[in-house]
Symmetry: C2
Subunit: 148 residues, 2 copies
DNA sequence: GCCTAAATCTATTGATTTTATAGAGTTTAG
DNA sequence: CTAAACTCTATAAAATCAATAGATTTAGGC
């Protein structure tokens, strides 16, 4: 499972990607996405430090996307907040660590199995971009409204 | 990431699946797989309660596979120890729960994205059986030995 | 029957991580 | 100069994870 922090980050980013040019107040994102304001503060700050968001301080300030939402994908966000995507550390790409209990990774069937699963999962996550998610959501909401 | 408990469980099961008819002592599994003995005790007990293992108490006792290792897969073991395989609770199959912050799952892009990812992941995990993993491991170890 | 080997059960501890909040500080528009 | 807004440090509450201790029950073999 994702941490709440990571899920909140994705929610916030997708929300912002619906209007990629707009500047957002923490408070507004917090209310729109139902994320505790103080918690969201820390999250947005992390995203800023990672270069995904930019910000402007003082009156009239706010957060905005610094990167093209088509180039930001879920694999990236997951790794930023939750670390590795792999199910065991010895199958990780960016956060590789040998498993303490394993005597020989080369002949460990789990290592090989989870390596494949990690690679497939990362592929799927890379296909999910902020732009894609935001557009899908706008479309779904429009459809639902039309129905009602 | 899997919990250690879950990873230990899989290690122990694969170890046992290499000799599916044999009866194993906790101590022997613990030493073979480098798992803290007391911790392993609790794990094996859970696997027994779940029906995967059987046991015999007293002198000459031990644990043994109760199910055909070809029918036990990693999806099952993961769910037993770590709960849902999905990355968000609203995308879970066996452990579904709505996300607290989400106002409308039907139009949530994350819900749909993670639903697909969960389904693909479960497919992959289901293809990894105790028998498959054990055989692969035996083969790899034999190959390595032949080389040396 | 008694001894010993082995699984079983209850409880609890310590460490770590996660989630969240408080409050002071800094920046900027007007 | 003041209000609005992000920034930073600190910390606390809660949950989870990993591991251990110690007592109990069961069964085999002499």
């Amino acid at each position: 499972m994702l941490s709440k922090k990571c899920k909140y980050a994705i929610h916030a980013l997708v929300h912002m990607a619906k209007e990629p040019e707009k500047k957002f107040l923490i408070k507004d994102i917090s209310e729109a996405c139902n994320i505790p304001k103080k918690f969201l503060e820390a999250i947005l700050l992390e995203l800023k430090r990672a270069g995904v968001l930019g910000s402007k301080q003082g009156k009239g300030g706010g957060y905005f996307l610094r990167q093209d939402p088509a180039t930001v994908n879920l694999a990236e966000v997951l790794r930023m907040f939750d670390g590795t995507i792999a199910l065991v550390s010895c199958a990780a790409h960016k956060f590789y660590e040998p498993c303490a209990e394993c005597e020989d990774e080369a002949t460990c069937s789990l290592h090989h199995a989870f390596l494949e699963i990690r690679m497939a999962t990362v592929e799927m996550l890379k296909n999910e971009t902020l732009e894609g998610l935001a557009k899908k959501e706008l479309k779904m909401k429009a459809k639902k409204k039309a129905k009602a």
